[in-house]
């Protein structure tokens, strides 16, 4: 039997037998549920203390030794420690956001996320929030250990501005991660290769271990598309006595640009996700590697 028109709706429905939230409640439930494995996972897999704190600290120590050897100003030690702490966020965005949907596809979770009535943006947001909370712990650990080891002197000009810059940086950075995750939705192992490719150049371009003012203006300006570039510069200006003198742009301008990046990346993530999901469904790439 073939219907000439769509068949009648089925009654009763699942929502009649079992209460299920929808709308913003479902969105919120999804965000919390997807953030949960990241936060809880950190408590259960303690190896992060070595890989995500001790190893980055090794790089930080190496740069501190170089700066001390060449007689760089004392604040450079603080710059390096702050940069080292922020690398944890970059690593998290790169490996646990951008290429995450590839791993989810391999594991079989992506198909289940798609067929559920939740929004994929809520899934991405949950991944971002969970990653942010977990990584903040790592960043704090690196900052505390580094500061204690090298007796770093902070002179915070404005805690409110410092906190605002950090929040803007996280929003823009994880917005960028969500955008990448959407772009990588169609990719197979290429996602892994692209993440590998992006890792090291960003250490350089974002000025993790030195003030970007050392770059020619247009190089620094182009690097500002990476949210960590301006946020690190602004936080250094706000946290260290000589920070303002070594800053690239004024803190207020950098905050304004970061706010713009937040909007751009989040909107782009939303649009790309919708487009890529449709494309992946059309091409049959949601559940299997590229044919």
């Amino acid at each position: 039997m073939r219907p000439e028109t769509a068949p009648p709706r089925q009654q009763p429905s699942a929502t009649d037998r079992l209460h299920k939230n929808s709308g913003w409640r479902l969105f919120l439930q999804t965000v919390i549920a997807r953030a949960y494995p990241r936060v809880v996972g950190q408590q259960r897999e303690r190896s992060w203390m070595f890989f995500d704190v001790v190893l980055p600290l090794g790089s930080v120590i190496a740069y501190v030794c170089v700066y001390k050897a060449i007689g760089a100003p004392d604040d450079y030690v603080g710059f390096v420690i702050m940069g080292g702490a922020m690398t944890a966020f970059w690593m998290n965005v790169l490996w646990s956001m951008s290429s995450q949907l590839y791993w989810e596809k391999e594991q079989g979770n992506l198909a289940l996320y798609i067929i559920a009535p939740n929004s994929m943006m809520a899934i991405l947001l949950g991944m971002a929030l969970g990653g942010m909370v977990a990584t903040t712990l790592r960043a704090v650990a690196i900052t505390l250990l580094g500061s204690l080891m090298f007796q770093v002197h902070y002179a915070v000009a404005s805690y409110v501005q410092l906190f605002t810059v950090f929040i803007l940086a996280m929003t823009a950075l994880y917005g960028l991660g969500m955008m990448f995750a959407s772009m990588f939705l169609l990719l197979s192992r290429e996602a892994w290769h692209l993440s590998n490719l992006a890792q090291e150049p960003v250490y350089l371009l974002a000025g993790f271990y030195f003030p970007i003012r050392n770059f020619p203006f247009w190089v620094a300006a182009a690097s500002s598309i990476i949210p960590l570039t301006l946020s690190l510069d602004a936080m250094r200006q706000l946290a260290f006595p000589s920070g303002a003198a070594l800053g690239f742009l004024s803190v207020k301008l950098e905050m304004a640009i970061l706010a713009g990046l937040c909007v751009i990346f989040l909107v782009a993530a939303r649009l790309l996700l919708t487009y890529m999901e449709k494309l992946a469904i059309r091409e049959g790439r949601l559940t299997e590697s590229r044919r």
């Binding site: 073939r2 769509a6 089925q10 079992l18 198909a111 067929i115 559920a116 949601l286 559940t287 044919r291």
Partner: protein, 334 residues
Amino acid sequence: MNFAIQTRDLGRVYKIRGGKKNEPKELAALSNVNLAVHQGELFGLLGPNGAGKTTLIKVLTTLLAPTSGQAWVAGFDVAKEPHKVRPRINMVSGGEASGYGLLTVRENLWMFAQFYGIPSTEANRRIKQLLEVVGLADRLNTKSSDLSTGLRQKMNIVRGFLTDPDVLFLDEPTLGLDVGASREVRRFIRQWIDADRSRTLLLTTHYMVEAEELCDRVAIVNQGRVLACDTPANLRHHLQQDALFRLETTPLNGLKVGAFRVLPGVRQVTHRPQDGFAVLELILEEDAALAGVVSTMTAANISIINLQKREPTLEDVFVDLVGQSMEEVESHEA
């Protein structure tokens, strides 16, 4: 009549890279599939690996767009209204490794329940209840990475039933499970559908026993096409007038099964070489046709070890429709 699932001339063509001169090659995974599954039905898709069963499930669960035709689930078009279909469905695949190994069974199930908007208290109550039904209650707080394949699959099954969907898709749900675990899973599936006939279940399998034991109706699928669709009893009934024999013989010594197929009264023959002997399954138009088969064997110096006349099974229906056993189809595909 309420149909939970309906398809009209449904087709899906994959473009595969690596054809001649690197041009994309086309592979029709589904061709003109017309199905109507009633609300409250436990419907089976039976076919060998690569028949198109999983592709059909992907289309019906909104994971894959059809390239031709239409499909409705719970009355909604899967391609045009996926957001209306999704709250009403769920899916479990055999051998899937979904969830996160660091989370416990309860946490994994709770997480998936949240994606459907089930309030936490209710989700936790249902998780406990369903884990008891499948005999997994004592593993509530075990990390899912510590579960055996069978127990993990039970957890996946619970995940599918947890959201109490209108239409549940089970893709080879007992794949990789031992006999006991498979039986338990089948019993649970049957109980679930019998408890409330407003639910519908579509199950794919390449196990004949599963289809015979569980399904109200079965569609036999091969090479992306539906070859037959009816109750298991009616499908078998078509072969009632035929004579079915199972012969164990000495090895065929190079004699091809084609030599039997050309004999008068022989409809289908399948051959399974075993260790030191051969098994022939014959579908004959009448008992008398067996004489010709025996003569051919005698001439080729093949001895009959055991001969058994038997009732038709769904495997015989498949052989009758396709001309090969599922095993043979799968080995050719491989």
